[in-house]
């Protein structure tokens, strides 16, 4: 049976792995390739690198660290951040990334998903989707909306409709980040992940909100996620991936033990 995946997310600024505190003040935590190798040895099923380097001047630098990751890591890894064109897909895949994530650019021009999938295959096209709940007067969630530009811009798009459209166009996987949960450490947005998992026929990676090991169990058992993204839980040394997986196994979640 297919395993539920544990996917560490590593933020990269320039060519360094960094940790953000409240989305600000990046502090360097190591080399992207060495950290990736360590997490691989700890039992990570896949890695996601979020490139937060804004400047275009750093394109070469960007490819250089990706090449180093490809040299040292022998599990699949995705690179997300700043991808706008099919040419960007080509450069990142050539540098050694297995999958490329696209977020704001796909909202602005959805055909990008199709263009990339037609050339490189759906399996390497990942949609990054940032979601925020919309409440009614009784403070009940009525639906979720898509946000772009790191959560700064509201698009008016319904999350489920956008996810279905993206899957139709060529996305092979969706990383869904709940903006209001991100960094709060009080659990994933399980209701949203469950809704997406039921309505969309491609794998869903849940992101945003993991603080305790129980949150991961919850997003798999109740949220039906295919994969769970973990970041601060492991970067700060609260848990190792091995500990997370051993715990999940005791709760009958089907994980790969190494």
């Amino acid at each position: 049976m297919l395993r539920k995946r544990i996917v560490p997310a590593i933020d990269v600024l320039n060519d360094q792995a960094v940790k953000y505190v409240q989305f600000r003040n990046p502090t360097i935590i190591g080399d992207p390739a060495e950290l990736g190798k360590k997490y691989t040895e700890d039992g990570a099923d896949e890695l996601i690198y979020l490139d937060t380097t804004a400047s275009l001047k750093n394109q070469d630098l960007k490819l250089e660290w990706i090449q180093r990751v490809a040299e040292q890591v022998n599990i699949p890894f995705s690179v997300i951040g700043g991808v706008r064109t099919v040419e960007d897909f080509k450069n990142l895949l050539r540098a050694g990334a297995d999958k490329v994530g696209v977020n704001s650019a796909a909202v602005q021009r959805p055909e990008l998903l199709k263009e990339a999938a037609d050339i490189y295959g759906k399996q390497c096209v990942v949609l990054g989707l940032d979601a925020m709940p919309i409440y009614n007067d009784n403070e009940e969630i009525i639906r979720w909306e898509v946000y772009t530009h790191s959560g700064y811009e509201k698009t008016g798009l319904d999350v489920v409709e956008w996810a279905q459209q993206a899957a139709e166009l060529g996305a092979g996987e969706i990383i869904c980040t709940s903006i209001h949960k991100d960094g709060m450490k009080n659990g994933y947005d399980v209701a949203l992940i469950k809704l997406l998992s039921e309505k969309v026929n491609i794998p869903i990676i849940a992101s945003g909100g993991a603080g305790k090991i129980e949150h991961i169990e919850e997003v798999f058992s109740e949220g039906k996620a295919d994969a769970a993204l973990v970041a601060s839980m492991i970067h700060y040394g609260d848990y190792t991936i091995g500990e997370i997986k051993s715990y999940l196994q005791t709760k009958n979640i089907n994980v790969r033990l190494t």
Binding site: M1, R3, A70, N74, P76, Q123, G172, E173
Partner: protein, 203 residues
């Protein structure tokens, strides 16, 4: 020396890197004239569409090259799409393939699971093939595919995996073999499998 068929497959470089890191000499083969007698084993990587891949292999003469080498007795390992191409025909684009093994490549349609089959899944060693040496049975490997191999003869099924249905995830015989998963992306046991294949030849 390990010859790796270069026809623009997406996973070529990660396969090449893995083989080199194991300490084997490698040579990329883009056309028949790239062949040297030092090449004792061949690898056919692959990611993507079967029809597109066969068109490239046919137009570059690499299909003829592979036919020639295989009939001379050179071992061949197909990876992912490269494995599917070893069979007679793929339903992806309804294209005739290399036909080194009898059987076809249908699409996953009767499974209730999500398509593509993407992620880590277990492989059961059904024949004690040398590819599985020093690898625990039912080890996980990394898969990404929407079509699967359906060999005609049971004896050509070397490994099985369950994804709604049981399908052949490792196929072949002692000379021509293929793996549906990506050993180059399957951690230490994936690398072990590549070493098992390569060490049958020389370093």
């Amino acid at each position: 020396m390990i010859g790796i068929i270069d026809y623009g497959a997406g996973n070529l470089h990660s396969v090449l890197k893995a083989i080199k890191q194991l300490g084997y000499n490698t040579k990329l083969i883009t056309k028949a004239s790239d062949h040297t007698d030092e090449i004792t084993r061949l690898i056919l990587p692959g990611v993507g569409n079967a029809k597109v891949a066969m068109d490239v292999l046919n137009s570059t003469g690499l299909s003829d090259y592979l036919n020639g080498r295989v009939s001379e007795g050179t071992p061949l390992l197909g990876i992912c799409l490269g494995m599917q191409l070893l069979l007679e025909k793929s339903e992806e684009g309804n294209v005739p393939c290399l036909g080194f093994l009898k059987g076809t490549v249908p699409e996953f349609t009767d499974v209730s699971e999500k398509i593509p089959h993407m992620g880590w899944n277990q492989v059961k060693d059904v024949q004690n093939h040398f590819l599985f040496e020093n690898i625990p049975d039912e080890t996980d490997f990394y898969f990404v595919h929407s079509y699967f191999a359906k060999p005609e003869n049971q004896k050509d099924i070397l490994g099985e995996t369950n994804y709604g249905i049981n399908f052949a995830s490792v196929i072949g015989n002692s000379q021509v073999m293929g793996v549906q998963f990506h050993p180059e992306k399957s951690g230490k046991y994936g690398i072990q499998l590549l070493d098992n294949y390569c060490k049958q030849g020389d370093k």
